[in-house]
Amino acid sequence: MSTVIRIQREDFDPQAEADALTKGRPDVGALTTFTGFCRHEEGALSALELEHYPGMAEKELQRIVDEARKRWPVQGITVLHRYGKIMPGERIVFVAVSGGHRGEAFAACEFIMDFLKTSAPFWKREHKVDGSQGEWVEAKDADDKALERWK
């Protein structure tokens, strides 16, 4: 029932994080992982700048993990989110869930990502390849709609 939540500037190693949830755990039958990357947006984007609300970001991720645990009997959960300047092709976010079976591991992983996108206090700003500072990324309706399936 281990939970790992980290908000950090540095990159992370998805394989090492996944291994930490399964090593010496013969009770684990399923591990799902999600890794989110910075896209280049057809070559227009040179970087994303990620801002967060220190303190609340950790609390909110913990709240989302607690909610997932109420819904599914999963085992380990790891949620990592980076902040600062992130280049196209680099990792931004990572969620891993281990469990006895794939159903709950898949569901909890997707649930955590859906709520992370709409309620964890992070904001993205674009930097353009022409050197100009781009706009703050706007929240998407599709992300709000994604929550409806969990009601």
């Binding site: 989110g36 990620l50 801002e51 967060h52 609300y53 303190g55 609340m56 609390k59 909110e60 989110h81 931004i92 976010v93 990502m113 992370l116 996108k117 709409t118 309620s119 964890a120 206090p121 992070f122 904001w123 993205k124 700003r125 703050w136 990324v137 706007e138 929240a139």
Partner: protein, 83 residues
């Protein structure tokens, strides 16, 4: 109470945080936003579409009709775009 601002709300207000002392007539989050809008053009700009601004009291999301009574820290920010 301490107010903290993030992303474009912070940029428009022109500072990351400040101490606010609203009058006693300010009861709810919505009242506070209306009061802030009257503090200058940077606030009027930041809160021009006040209903889209998300608010957290002591690091927990709240709705605009929530009383601010015991708030130590109140945060204002745009809809979130992490992940």
């Amino acid at each position: 109470m301490k107010a903290v601002y993030f992303a474009w709300v912070r940029e428009r207000v022109g500072k990351p945080e400040e101490i606010l002392t609203p009058p006693a007539s300010v009861i709810t989050v919505a009242d506070l936003i209306a009061w802030l809008k009257g503090r200058g053009e940077e606030y009027a700009y930041a809160f021009e579409n006040g209903h889209v601004i998300r608010v957290a009291i002591d690091q927990t999301h709240v709705k605009h009709d929530t009383p601010i009574a015991d708030a130590r820290e109140i945060a204002f920010f745009p809809p979130m775009t992490g992940g």
